[in-house]
């Protein structure tokens, strides 16, 4: 089967390099970075850290080069979904496209361009060290399920999940993947921007009682929206937050959004707190604190153009 990873950044590279280990899978990568694409084609895609992997695959910056694929895995930053899927949709006319991106609302964007969509959430993380070389920081599970308005058949979801699992990326196929997705979104939306706005690591955010209370207030708004969406969270985001605050887990971790702000990169806030606010509005669920946090982070982004 042919799989194309759309957006071969850190997370996309974890899928691409691992899937390339399988004899029965031909992997393509579509990415905007010429140096990264050239390095992958010349020397393969290398992972180090949590696993040492060298994947041989075909990479391109030119979507016209892509063959017809059975599956797409979209892994761009959320704000690039529209452009990336619009460029590559022709490769998925008869295929299914999954997202492993952060936030909510990505499936909706993909579904405007392709027929069969797979909702997805992934926990592994890493960072690009240099073109063609990615640091694999954290292993973790992935969950796939049909995207309800434009669903991929569950058998196809299972086929992709099976390939990922065999490749070393443990993946579950479930009929309703919204629970894990919203748990992760609520976790991210309630902690990432707080670290970003204050400059504190995850552990230090959690040990300030007033700040931890603000995190919980954000979690509660997210849970209320999830409930209005009739989504059953697979676990309480609060547990994930407290677990991550432990010294041996992620006490000293700087949220990716804090890293983004420090580097003056546009954040994914529109798809985290912004997503919670938008879904809340549809159901008449008020989310004043998520809205405030969203506005503040957008304000930080706006300050760079001064």
């Amino acid at each position: 089967m042919k799989v194309c990873v759309v957006g071969c950044g850190a997370v996309g590279s974890l899928f691409a390099a691992n899937l390339a280990q399988l004899e029965d899978v031909e992997v393509w990568a579509y990415d905007a970075s010429e140096p990264h694409v050239d390095a992958i084609n010349a020397n393969g895609l290398r992972l180090s850290g949590a696993g040492e992997v060298l994947g041989r695959l075909r990479a391109t910056t030119d979507a016209a080069q892509l063959p017809a694929c059975d599956f797409g895995i979209v892994a761009t930053k959320a704000m690039h979904t529209e452009a990336a899927i619009a460029a590559t949709a022709h490769a998925f006319v008869n295929g299914c496209v999954a997202t492993v991106q952060n936030g909510i609302g990505n499936e909706e964007v993909i579904a405007e361009h392709v027929e069969q969509v797979i909702r997805g959430t992934t926990f592994p993380a890493g960072k690009i060290l240099e073109p063609g070389h990615v640091q694999w920081d954290v292993k973790g599970d992935t969950t796939f399920g049909p995207f309800e308005p434009r669903p991929a058949p569950l058998t196809e979801v299972e086929r992709l999940a099976d390939a990922c699992t065999r490749a070393g990326m443990p993946t579950h196929a479930v009929p309703d993947a919204r629970g894990p997705q919203w748990r992760k979104v609520i976790f991210n939306a309630s902690t990432n921007p707080i670290g970003a706005l204050t400059g504190l690591t995850h552990g230090r955010v959690c040990e300030r009682p007033d700040l931890r209370a603000l995190v919980s207030a954000l979690v509660d708004e997210g849970k209320a929206v999830a409930a209005a969406e009739r989504i059953e969270l697979d676990a309480d985001p609060e547990q994930l937050i407290d677990h991550a605050a432990r010294p041996e887990v992620a006490y000293g971790h700087k949220a990716s959004m804090l890293q983004d702000l420090e580097a003056r990169r546009t954040t994914e806030i529109d798809y985290l707190n912004g997503g919670i606010v938008r879904f809340g509005r549809e159901h008449g669920v008020p989310t004043p604190l998520n809205q405030a946090i969203w506005a503040l982070v957008k304000g930080v982004e706006a300050s760079w153009t001064k």
Binding site: G199, L200, A292, S303
Partner: protein
């Protein structure tokens, strides 16, 4: 000719320096500083005022109130965080003087009142400047200082001080009751300063439109609810003040933004904090201001 009025300015940050520099043109001014080298610089070089003014005055400065002698008027112009120790250092001094507070926020009068039985005036100032060094301050915004009676004083006392300040070249206005003006400014300040500190944005058009404008509006609405619960009728609508200020043509950098940029402690506890405390006293819910206080304090904690 009557003997010159004796004024002591306690605290010589930007606002204190502006008061001292201008008043020294019409009064005998002493400046109470926290640091010895600051007092030395003022005694040796005088105080230069630039910007809207351009002059240098001679004045007396010391870190010891005793050395400054008697005063008719003491203007307490330090930052809120320095107020308690400064007020304590005034205890037993300047009998016969009227003391005027000029801090942002609410509650400065109560702190000073606890340290002596001077007649007290309260004030809020809208003027702004930039302190270039210990002996040089630039006068930027020539907006007024508002003065009102607080304890053992009348509107006529407030007017006499306002007249003295006006005669020096600064703007001042006296009120029968300062609270409507003070609360208007507090709500405006609590909102604009905290949003600027967390976003890095100067006070510009972002504050009056779009998503950030909605947040600013929400913060102002919470403040208005607290004022209503406290029985204060606002003099100006803080939202209108905000919109007006963003149309000045040049963006102002609120002091709290300058503080966080320089990794200094902010006045969040005195400004937004005093609004949150008033809200608690009157049983009003202010989740947005509470979040802003929490976030700014956490940002301060990130410096260490």
């Amino acid at each position: 000719m009557a003997e010159a009025v004796k004024v002591v300015v306690a605290g010589a940050g930007t606002i204190g320096s502006l008061f001292a520099g201008y008043l020294a043109r019409v009064a005998d001014v002493g400046v109470l500083t926290r640091r010895d080298e600051h007092a030395r610089a003022l005694n040796e070089r005088g105080l230069r005022v630039s910007g809207r003014g351009d002059f240098t005055v001679e004045l007396r400065a010391s870190t010891d109130p005793v050395e400054l002698g008697d005063a008719d008027l003491v203007i307490v112009a330090c930052k809120g965080g320095d107020l308690e120790p400064l007020a304590a250092s005034l205890r037993g001094r300047f009998s016969g003087a009227t003391v005027m507070t000029a801090q942002n926020g609410l509650g400065a009068e109560e702190i000073v009142a606890a340290h002596g039985d001077w007649p007290l005036l309260s004030s809020v100032t809208f003027m702004s400047g930039t302190r270039h060094d210990d002996a040089h301050v630039q006068y930027v915004l020539d907006t007024a200082t508002w003065i009102g009676p607080y304890r053992g004083t009348t509107a006529a006392d407030a007017e006499r001080v306002a007249e003295l300040i006006r005669s020096s070249g600064l703007k001042a206005e006296a009120f029968d009751d300062l609270r409507p003006a003070q609360w208007s400014k507090l709500i405006f300040n609590a909102t604009v300063n905290s949003v600027a500190a967390l976003t890095g944005l100067p006070h510009d058009s972002h504050f009056a439109e779009g998503m950030l404008g909605e947040l600013v509006h929400g913060l102002v609405e919470e403040g208005k609810a607290v004022a209503a619960a406290a029985g204060v009728t606002l003099r100006e609508d803080p939202w209108e003040m905000n919109v007006h200020a963003t149309r000045r043509g040049h963006a102002h950098y609120p002091s709290m933004l300058e503080d966080v940029s320089a990794h200094r402690p902010t006045e969040i506890d005195l400004i937004s904090g005093s609004l949150v405390r008033e809200a608690q006293r009157h049983g009003v819910d202010v989740p947005l201001h509470t979040a802003m206080v929490t976030l700014v304090k956490a940002k301060e904690a990130s410096y260490s």
